[in-house]
């Protein structure tokens, strides 16, 4: 019989420990909470799948999920095409390349809570640059602390300002990797700008674009800091996205069971949607 060398486990051990502490153990704690009920004093009772049922049926969760889905939909539908268009119109060589790249990267370098605070002050009707300009110069009634539509516009604009750059930079990286020869061939063929985009640039950008859509999906679906700092979920519940609601339940009301169940559902949705995106976008690729 062949003697099996068991030393291999030793080499895997550091990774196992690392993953256990940063993912598995916290995750299993949440799973643990999600199936139990507590009335304090660290005493827990078995509750089965009750919390999951409650959460899925609750109007509050469904509304938050709806707002979250709408937010992510708007983000993707605006940021992805806008990012592609900006990347296409950026220069590919010369003096302006570094200027454009640095300008594009700037918003992403600002800490998330600072972005929220910036936009909050920027849009305040009486002291904010934009808020004052809209209300007192143009005479448009705009107050994101009072009006849900104004709040939504501000939240979306802020995210577009903050994160379109990511799509731009990824697409730009894909674009500059296309050899000049392709553009020359298209020129000789007499291909239109649209054809060049459709048959050369888009196929060559596809891989980075897949990554860009995935990243923007995950980040916007899990977004918390910026809208929380900007609107705190208001006015009313109008901008209370899933993550904001989750924090309210978990840390505001200290309903550990429902919050844990909600976390797991949230996680499952993100995971499933990411998988779906990735599968759909790469299904025609030949390995």
């Amino acid at each position: 019989m062949r003697k099996v060398n068991q030393k291999g486990w030793l080499f895997v051990l550091p990774v196992v420990v690392l993953v256990a502490f940063n993912a598995l153990i916290p995750m299993m704690t949440v799973v643990n909470y999600s199936v139990q009920e507590t009335f304090g004093d660290n005493v827990f009772f078995w509750h089965g799948l009750g919390w999951f049922e409650d959460i899925l049926k609750s109007d509050r969760f469904q509304a938050a999920l709806g707002r979250q889905a709408f937010f992510t939909f708007l983000i993707l539908i605006i940021e992805v095409p806008l990012g592609v268009i900006i990347a296409l119109s950026m220069p590919r060589k010369g003096f302006w390349v570094p200027v454009c790249l640095v300008t594009m990267a700037l918003p992403m370098l600002i800490p998330w809570n600072v972005v929220g605070a910036m936009w909050n002050i920027f849009t305040l009707p009486d002291i904010g640059l934009l808020g004052y300009f809209l209300n007192h110069v143009l005479g448009i009634s705009y107050d994101m602390t009072q009006n849900p539509t104004a709040a939504w516009i501000t939240v979306i604009t802020m995210d577009v300002w903050h994160w379109t750059s990511l799509v731009v930079l990824l697409c730009y990286a894909g674009l500059v990797s296309i050899p000049d020869a392709y553009y020359q061939a298209a020129k000789i063929d007499g291909a239109s700008n649209w054809s060049v985009f459709r048959y050369i640039q888009l196929p060559k950008m596809k891989q980075v674009l897949t990554i860009a859509v995935l990243l923007r999906f995950m980040d916007s679906f899990n977004v918390y800091t910026e809208p929380f700092v900007l609107t705190g979920g208001g006015p009313g519940n109008s901008t209370t996205l899933l993550s904001i609601d989750l924090v309210k339940i978990a840390l505001g009301q200290f309903d550990l069971g429902p919050a844990a169940a909600m976390s797991l559902i949230y996680f499952a949705i993100t995971l499933f949607a990411s998988w779906l995106f990735y599968t759909l976008m790469t299904r025609n690729d030949v390995k």
Partner: protein
């Protein structure tokens, strides 16, 4: 049917990339642009294709001035060193793409694509996409596109450079017959002298953005007009050394001397440059008239059935290339022989005089 360059130049900022060039490329035979990397072959092709603007001069196609015309209106094809095909189209659609842009009928497109695919043996691959093909098949797809388009001019910019050795030979053998009888002006850029000789036709030698000589390939190989042309059209590089003519004798600064005959005998006395191709310098003595050259061997190489030796001759390094395997010893002095009949004589200004 001809492609004519009249005093064409190209500048990028202050730098002159193509110096004043006038050439006439005729259809029906291969026109080879031969020069080292950076000599201006690709620049010249891009000018002719209309991808870059001329700084001055005129470009005529069949007598018609096309200088200001966009590439698509010139009805040309360009095959690159890289394999350029639309990544998400099938081979069929790739070959058909210029025909679709031109708005041809579907049946006409079908016919032309299939005919081109037959010539290039791509029939079984028509439904595949470029990344499912080998390098040779990808480049054949690009060639098929050029053929199906029935262009007035076809530019091939080192199309075989990225193929492996066997494929390169195979495709090179096919190229001349591929374009024979199609009435297109074919311009083929290469950096390999051997390729120019194999493809035949006409050759334009290029150096530093200038065409130094243009004519039938064999003829300019035999009579390079200047030392520069001789250097461009020789691989390994042609051997050259300073010499002085006194009376009816030529004497190398490095020592050897021989009597002159024919045209060389009537040259004025004075300094000249003697040049001879490496395969005319042999490590063995054959004829009584041969001149003996002796120098220490610096490097030796064995390539297949040929041996080459680099040896020191005065201030210069010469190369001998001879069939068979020879026992050279690096560092030791060795005698080499050349027949003065194979020598070129260049005047101090570089022009061929005999």
């Amino acid at each position: 049917m001809a492609l004519e360059l009249q005093a064409v130049t190209k500048r990028v900022g202050q730098a002159v990339h193509i110096k004043e060039t006038s050439l006439v490329f005729e259809p029906g035979r291969f026109n080879v642009l031969l020069g080292e990397t950076g000599s201006g072959k690709t620049s010249l092709i891009k000018l002719m294709a209309g991808l870059d603007r001329l700084a001055s001069g005129k470009l005529l196609m069949n007598g018609r001035d096309v200088t200001g015309l966009s590439p698509q209106k010139r009805n040309i094809s360009l095959v690159h060193q890289f394999f350029v095909n639309y990544p998400h189209m099938t081979v069929f659609e790739n070959i058909a793409s210029p025909l679709r842009v031109a708005g041809l009928a579907a049946s006409e497109i079908q016919g032309r694509v299939e005919a081109a695919a037959d010539v290039l043996k791509l029939r079984p691959m028509l439904k595949r996409r470029p990344h499912e093909l080998s390098g040779g098949q990808q480049q054949r797809t690009a060639l098929a596109r050029a053929i199906a388009k029935e262009s007035t001019a076809v530019f091939l910019d080192e199309p075989l450079a990225n193929l492996d050795y066997k494929l390169r030979e195979e495709l090179r053998d096919q190229l001349p017959e591929l374009f024979a009888g199609r009435g297109a002006v074919v311009v083929y850029a290469t950096s390999e002298p051997a390729e120019a000789l194999m493809l035949g036709g006409m050759t334009a030698l290029m150096q530093d953005g200038r065409v130094t000589q243009f004519g039938p390939t064999a003829q300019i190989y035999r009579r390079p007009n200047t030392l520069v042309s001789a250097r461009v059209f020789s691989d390994p590089p042609i051997n050259a050394a300073p010499a002085t003519k006194t009376g009816d004798r030529m004497r190398l600064t490095a020592g050897a001397e021989w009597p002159l005959a024919g045209a060389a005998a009537s040259l004025a006395d004075g300094p000249y440059t003697v040049a001879v191709r490496p395969h005319h310098v042999r490590p063995m003595h054959a004829e009584a008239s041969e001149v003996k050259l002796t120098g220490p061997i610096m490097v030796t190489e064995l390539s297949g059935s040929e041996s080459s030796a680099h040896f020191r001759l005065g201030e210069d390094t010469w190369v001998s290339l001879a069939p068979g395997v020879h026992p050279f010893e690096v560092g030791a002095a060795h005698a080499f022989y050349m027949d003065p009949a194979n020598c070129f004589y260049f005047a101090p200004d570089g022009a061929l005089v005999a």
